[in-house]
Symmetry: C2
Subunit: 221 residues, 2 copies
Amino acid sequence: MTQAAPVIETNREDNGTPTKAVDWENPRVAAILSAAAKCFARKGFSATTLAEIGKELGLRKSIVHYYFASKAALIHEVQSYTYNKYLARVKEAIASDSSGNRAVNALVSLWDAIQNNKTGTGLNIEVWSAARRDSELKRRASGLHRDAQQIIADSVAEALKAHGHDLARKDVVATLILAVLNGLSVTEYLEDDERKAREAYDLFIKLLTGSQPGSNGQPSS
Amino acid sequence: MTQAAPVIETNREDNGTPTKAVDWENPRVAAILSAAAKCFARKGFSATTLAEIGKELGLRKSIVHYYFASKAALIHEVQSYTYNKYLARVKEAIASDSSGNRAVNALVSLWDAIQNNKTGTGLNIEVWSAARRDSELKRRASGLHRDAQQIIADSVAEALKAHGHDLARKDVVATLILAVLNGLSVTEYLEDDERKAREAYDLFIKLLTGSQPGSNGQPSS
C-alpha cells in the first residue's frame, strides 16, 4: 500500500503492526479522516467516492488524493483513526475516575464512549463486512480488536480484580466485555432501541460486578 | 418487492411481517437459497450475481430468475431462510434435552448451532452492513433479531428461572444472550480464534448460571 502523505511510523512490539502511519496531528488530515468516517458509516465503502469526501469539506478530490493515494489507503487509515480515538476516550474516562466502584464506572464509561460515537458502530459493521474481501483490512481490524481487549484487560478487568472479583483470567473477561459491547451495538442499531440495549448492559454489569450502576451512588448513564 | 415464485404467506401477529413468503419446501428453491447463502457470505451481496448462484447448482440464470424476481428479493429470502434454519436447530436442541442443568445445556446448544453455521455468521455481518442502505432488509433483520430473542427468552431464560436464577426480566436476559452470541461470533471471525471465543462464552455461562459446562457432568462442546 503506498501513501502520498508524510508518515510517522509508530513501532509496535506486539505484532509489528503500525496503527499510525499518517500524521493525525495535521488538521487537514484529521478533517479528511473525520469526514470519511461519516461518509463510510452512512453509505458504506463501495458507495462512497473520494470526491464526495472532499466535497464535505469543500476540498477538491486532488487534495484528498494528495494525502491518501487510494480509497483503500483511506479506509485503512479511517479505521485506525476512529478506533484509536474511541480507545483514547475510554482510557481518559477510566483514568479520571477516583470514586467508589471503579470497575462499574469503567464499564459505564465503555458504554458511554460507544453512545457518543455512533459513527464508530456504523464503521465497525462496515469494516467487519469488507474485511472478508480485504485481507489487509482484516489484519488491521484484528489488531485493533486485540488492542481494545488489552485496554479493557488493563483497566476494567484489573479493577474487578482489585475489588475481589477474581472470576477468571483478565484476557477472558476482556474478550467477553468487548463482545458484549459489540453485540449490544448491533442490537441497538438493528432495533433502534437504546433503552433495551442499556438494560441488557446493566444486567451484564450486575453479573460481572455484583452491583448495578445507579444502585451505589453512581450515575446510571 | 415482486416475487415470481408461488408464495405462502405466514401471518405474524407481532408486527405483521411475513418471514416466509417463498415455498421453502420446494427442493429447488431450498437449493438456490442454500447456494445463495454461501455465495453471499463469501463474497458479499454486491459482488455476487444471480448467474454465479445458478452456476453453483448447474442452473441457468433464468431459472434463478423464475423463483426470485431480483437479487434484492433473493437477499431478503436468504436472510429469513438461513436465520429460521438456525432458530429451528436451536429449538430442536433445547427441546431434546432432558438432562441435569437445562439452562447450561441450552446455552451450549446456542453456541454449537452457531459453530455449525459459519455461513450464518458471514451472512449476518453482510446483512448488518447492507441494512443501512436497504430499509426492507433492516426491517426484516430487526424482526428476525426479535424472533431469536423470543426463542431464547422462552427456552433459556425460562430454564434459568426454573433453576432459581431469577436475575432479571426474561427479555433482558435474552437480549444479553443474543448480543453475546453475536459479539463472540465477530470475535471469532476477526481473530480466527475459536478457543478464545469459547472461553469467553464459558465465562458468560458461569456468570449467568453459576455453573460451567463440563463442571457438572455436561459435555463441554
